[in-house]
């Protein structure tokens, strides 16, 4: 269970999140809806420990994250697929996906098992595996970013605007993949951000709406 309680974040002195509270139950599928600049990305970055929080607290299964540095959040089983994919261009697709698991020093057979799981969920990635990430299209890159998040996201995956800029056919495939993900790995919670509330309705169980850094319920 991921929980934000009254979290406030300032960026360069300006308040970006104000008193944000949000719960992602185990295996739950939660949407965070808001316009550009509303604070969606900041919420996810705060969860990943990439930004200092000014007030409030973030807990993962009851454990306060305050003392957990950003590079130890992945170890909590949280996978993160940032906006704009942020893949490592000079690595192959497979190297990109395997990296976080290797950094966590998972045993090789466990890495192979997880990788196989990702390929089963996202079969098109198998074909890209040896290709350099820099040469992928935006949509392909989003699939890889999802795969990479799943390699360590045993508890939850945070997906930042995965549908942004996807062609309709690709968006459909991505949504189908999320459906398969929920069936294959029912324990993995999904927190997904989006600007269009209609798009995610069939995919999620709970929706939060964020506006100017404040949460309402949608």
């Amino acid at each position: 269970m991921l929980r934000l309680e009254g979290v406030s974040v300032d960026i360069a002195g300006a308040p970006v999140l104000r008193n944000v509270s949000l719960v992602v139950p185990p295996g739950g599928r939660v949407a965070l809806i808001g316009r550009n600049g509303a604070g969606k990305t900041t919420t996810l970055r705060a969860l990943m420990g990439l930004l200092p929080i000014k007030a409030g607290r973030i807990t993962v299964d009851g454990q306060d994250c305050a003392g957990i540095p950003a590079h130890h959040r992945a170890k909590l089983g949280i996978g993160y697929a940032p906006e704009e994919r942020r893949l490592f261009g000079s690595f192959t697709v497979q190297e990109n996906m395997v990296l976080p698991a290797e950094v966590l020093k998972l045993p090789p057979d466990e890495i192979a098992r997880r990788l196989e799981g990702v390929y089963t969920l996202l079969p098109e990635l198998r074909g890209f595996a040896p290709r350099k990430a820099a040469g992928l299209s935006g949509g392909q890159g989003k699939m890889v970013a999802l795969g990479r998040a799943l390699m360590v996201g045993t508890r939850a995956v945070l997906l930042d605007e995965p549908f942004q800029g996807l062609a309709p056919a690709l968006a459909l495939r991505y949504a189908e993949a999320l459906g398969r993900l929920h069936h294959a790995l029912p324990d993995v919670a999904i927190l997904i951000t989006e600007s269009n509330p209609e798009l995610l309705r069939p995919l999620v169980e709970a929706t939060y709406v964020i506006e100017r850094g404040e949460i309402g319920v949608g």
Binding site: R73, E95, P100, A134, G138
Partner: protein, 310 residues
């Protein structure tokens, strides 16, 4: 033809000299490149590590001679000097100084690293004085080789012919292998590419930065240590080295290990030909090459354009 037959030998000598010079510049530039990649801080004091590496190598070498130890020890002593400088100076400077200016205004970074350069420059004078320091045991130890050149031969030191380029090639191949094939190497590349994404993948970027900075410092010191048998070290050598390695890095494009080798070769040879044929151009030739390359390819010879987004 007339000019060539008259100057052929000189041409060959300039090429050999340029090659040896390029080898030592490459070491410095590749270290600068690594450090900039990970920290995004242009370290003006990087040239000081070259100078300190050179002085330290000379001191260790002279101590070996004074202790009556076998003279072949002078060769591994060069490597020991470089490692020593990297390990002693790298971690504290990264931790206490550069880490604080990471992500700050470039002007502040330049001022801080320039201040560090000034301090290190005075430290050198304090320890080694202002008299030229030279140490050519490794050069004498290996003797000279007659390099065939047309119908003539050019006597050239084996040290400059084999050891300098050899170590530079080993560094190039070893570093490329390390960055591509080992987990630690890929982690360094990941932090270079995208620090925040790397952190979210579980990478401790601060630790990677310290490791990289230490390696970069040791590489610059190695460049100096390798150069000391061929050049007398005088105050100010750090400054000219840093400016030259900036030129090499800018010509190659940032983040390019092989590119740094090619551009070090280009600039090393260019400078060497100038020294032999138009000595008054020595100082400007490296920058003329840099400007010519940047006019045609602003991202550098080997710099890659941004990753496509859609």
């Amino acid at each position: 033809m007339g000019w060539l037959s008259e100057n052929g030998l000189l041409l060959g000598l300039a090429a050999l000299d340029g090659l040896a010079y390029a080898a030592s510049v490459f070491m410095v530039a590749v270290g600068l490149n690594l450090v900039f990649g990970v920290m995004r801080v242009l370290n003006v004091a990087h040239g000081s590590f070259y100078a300190i590496g050179a002085y330290t190598a000379a001191s260790i070498g002279l101590a070996i001679a004074a202790a009556g130890l076998p003279s072949w020890l002078s060769l591994p002593a060069l490597l020991v000097a470089a490692a020593l400088v990297g390990l002693v100076l790298g971690p504290p400077i990264e931790r206490l100084l550069l880490r604080r200016v990471e992500g700050q205004e470039p002007v502040l970074q330049l001022l801080v690293t320039f201040a560090l350069f000034m301090i290190l420059e005075d430290v050198q004078k304090l320890i080694w004085g202002v008299q030229p320091v030279s140490y050519d045991t490794p050069l004498k130890l290996l003797g000279t080789v007659d390099v065939p050149f047309g119908e003539d031969v050019i006597p050239f030191t084996a040290y400059q012919l084999y050891v300098l380029p050899g170590i530079a090639i080993l560094t190039l191949v070893g570093l490329a292998w390390f960055l591509r094939r080992t987990l630690t190497g890929r982690i360094i590349v990941a932090v270079t590419t995208d620090r925040e994404a790397a952190t979210a993948m579980g990478i401790n970027a601060a630790r990677v930065t310290m490791l990289t900075f230490t390696c970069g410092t040791a590489l610059a010191a190695l460049g100096g240590a390798l150069a000391v048998p061929t050049t007398a070290m005088v105050p100010g050598i750090g400054a000219s080295t840093i400016v030259l390695s900036f030129a090499v890095v800018a010509t190659a494009g940032l983040g390019q290990i092989e590119g740094a080798a090619v551009s070090a070769l280009l600039i090393g040879l260019g400078r060497s030909f100038a020294v032999y044929f138009e000595p008054e151009l020595e100082v400007v030739v490296p920058y003329l090459i840099m400007v010519a390359v940047l006019l045609l390819r602003p991202q550098g010879l080997f710099g890659v354009a941004e990753t496509r987004r859609i």
